[in-house]
């Protein structure tokens, strides 16, 4: 199953990475070039100042008439240097250069160049070379500055900027995930609604959902009554079929016992047998077809109330036997499923128990990792071999006839249609037969 949350989150994080990456490198480049331009402007100004202080003797000697030198130009290896070319020959060098020189190539008058060069002590220097003309001499003044101290500062600035960016990035990712989750929240509500629907707590899904999900919810809501109606219709037609088949069967059965047939006893017996086969077949097929199972959206049924109503019915059906039919069921227990299925399942088992009981029948139910219903009696029970046989082969519906396990077979078919199972044994309390139906946890 594909999650909506994962691709949305991944997409958002990736786009944030791209946005932050582009921004970070742009800022870095901008700081770098701004710094270089600013420094280059300073260097050009220094060059102009040097030029204005420069005087050339008629002999071609150059000298600087500066009242005040910037101290870095004087201090040796200070990282700030100048060098003056006169007619392509090195004429003057700043004292800071000591014995070294700048890799300065001549610049034509009026030209101004900025380049990165390696200084005398291997430093990365930014060199500004400016060309001038004076008294027929071509003069090139190169001023250079060590970039390292500035680069260190810029690196510190960039590191701070990166830290802030990362924090912002993390905050944005968290915020985005939050927004995505918030946007998907209605889906969770629909999911919870579906769960409630399955447990029968609601009959329809709530329609207070975003427009994108609404068509889906509406479709489900439309299908639900359709499903219920279809089940209702098929049960109705099964009922009509039963009615249509059973009346003639009753007549046939009646004919088989007719006085006129007493003179032909074999005929009567044969007729009776065939009618019985027909009846058993119809009975088992119709009853099986009626089972809704988990196809139908169920309701949360009050187990105690439903069993009590069944017991009231059985008390009337077995009125003459004066059976003590007891029910020990927690009032809070709920069966999630179809009511007719529940009544059919428990009705068949209770009927079986009443048939065999001497005087007592006991129904209990509890929740033990899924619903557990037991129905026991104080009748003769089933021999261990018999139990083993039932456990091994099960009660097959097509083999079962009324009074010989049809009820048990129907009950087993209903239980299995809910993913449950039926076990047969001896009632520890009453000593007779006991059937345990266990349903899987919801």
């Amino acid at each position: 199953m594909r999650s909506l949350l994962a691709p949305l989150t991944i997409g958002l994080v990736l786009s944030l990475v791209v946005v932050f990456g582009v921004q970070w490198s742009m800022v870095r480049v901008a700081i770098d070039s701004t710094m270089q331009n600013y420094i280059a402007a300073g260097l050009a100004q220094d060059a102009d100042e040097l030029f204005s202080a420069l005087s050339i003797q008629p002999g071609g000697q150059a000298s600087l008439a500066l009242s005040h030198f910037d101290p870095p130009f004087v201090a040796p290896s200070s990282g700030q240097y100048y060098q003056i070319l006169l007619d392509n020959e090195v004429a003057l060098r700043s004292p800071s250069l000591v014995y070294g020189s700048l890799p300065l190539s001549p610049a034509s008058p009026g030209q101004r160049r900025v380049e990165s060069v390696v200084g005398p002590e291997g430093q990365a220097l930014l060199l500004s070379a400016s060309g001038y003309a004076s008294d027929g001499h071509a003069i090139t003044i190169g001023v250079a500055v060590d970039l390292n101290p500035l680069r260190t500062q810029v690196a510190v600035l960039l590191a701070r900027y990166t830290q802030v960016s990362l924090v912002m990035f993390a905050l944005l990712v968290v915020l985005q995930i939050g927004i995505v989750r918030l946007a998907l929240l209605p889906l969770r509500r629909v999911k919870a609604d579906l769960g409630r629907l399955e447990r029968g707590e609601v009959a329809q899904l709530g329609e207070a959902v975003p427009a994108e999900v609404l068509p889906l919810v509406r479709e489900v809501n439309r299908l639900l009554p359709l499903l219920a109606r279809r089940l209702q219709r098929s049960r109705e037609s099964l009922g009509n079929l039963a009615h249509a088949l059973k009346a003639p069967l009753t007549v046939l059965k009646h004919i088989a016992n007719d006085e006129h047939l007493r003179q032909h006893p074999t005929l009567g017996t044969q007729l009776n047998e065939q009618v019985e086969i027909l009846r058993a077949r119809i009975e088992s097929e119709l009853r099986r077809a009626r089972v809704a199972g988990m196809r139908a959206p169920g309701a949360a049924l009050d187990l105690q109330a439903e069993i009590e109503s069944l017991i009231a019915t059985l008390r009337k059906l077995y009125r003459d036997r004066n059976l003590d039919i007891a029910c020990r069921i927690d009032a809070a227990l709920r069966f999630h499923g179809d009511r007719e299925d529940l009544l059919e399942l428990c009705g068949n088992l209770l009927d079986n128990a009443c048939k065999w009981a001497r005087s007592r029948v006991l129904v209990t139910a509890r929740d033990e990792k899924g619903l557990l219903v037991t129905i026991g009696d104080d009748g003769p029970g089933c021999s261990p071999e018999g139990l083993e046989q039932i456990a091994r082969r099960g009660v097959r519906l097509d083999e079962a006839t009324e009074g010989h396990g049809l009820g048990l077979a129907i009950a087993a078919a209903i239980a299995s249609s809910y993913g449950g199972e039926i076990r047969y044994g001896r009632s520890p309390e009453l000593g007779g037969f006991e059937v345990t139906v266990s349903f899987p946890a919801a």
């Binding site: 009346a247 069967l249 009753t250 069944l310 009337k316 007719e340």
Partner: protein
Amino acid sequence: MRILLAEDDASLSDRIKGDLVQRGYAVDVADNGVDAEYLGDEGIYDAVILDLGLPQRSGLQVLRNWRGKGNATPVLILTARDAWHEKVEGFDAGADDYVAKPFHVEELYARVGALIRRAHAQPAGAVVSDGLRLDEARQAVISGDKTIALSGMEFRLLRYFMLHPGQVLSKSHLAEHVYDDDSDRDSNVIEVHVSHLRNKIGAALIKTRRGQGYVFGASG
């Protein structure tokens, strides 16, 4: 005893009616729900056999209407609808017994008999009153160690008397409960049958209240 049989399948109702008449019951047949409800409200039936799948008005609705009006006639539901939820519904609507089709005929008649006896607070088994015991299978009455054979009408009358001991029963009331709608009713004929009964079981058991009717039983 007069029984209303509400069943729309004519071939089936004919047979059930035949059997019941043979067992000494007066039987009327209704083949739809509306007629059945109307007849059931006449107050002349001692029991009703009610099919649920009746045309025009369902048997269940008919039963609910009767109970809603306080009509407590014992009702046995006879139906092809044998799912447990339908049985529960039937008893909830006020049925007294429930037999699913196809049924064993003897079971149906035993249950009808039990229904009527129960309605008159009679023990299970046989109708017993004032030293007499009805043998419904042979349509005879046992007094002490003596078995007295009865004609069909005598049996019907005696069963009705024995189920209503100490009550004043007019001739027309008796006629209503031993004849069905198709019979020619003549309350003078009742007199003749009563006098035959007196000859068989002893005149003291059936007393005449002049202008009112008969009272059965030593205490009456």
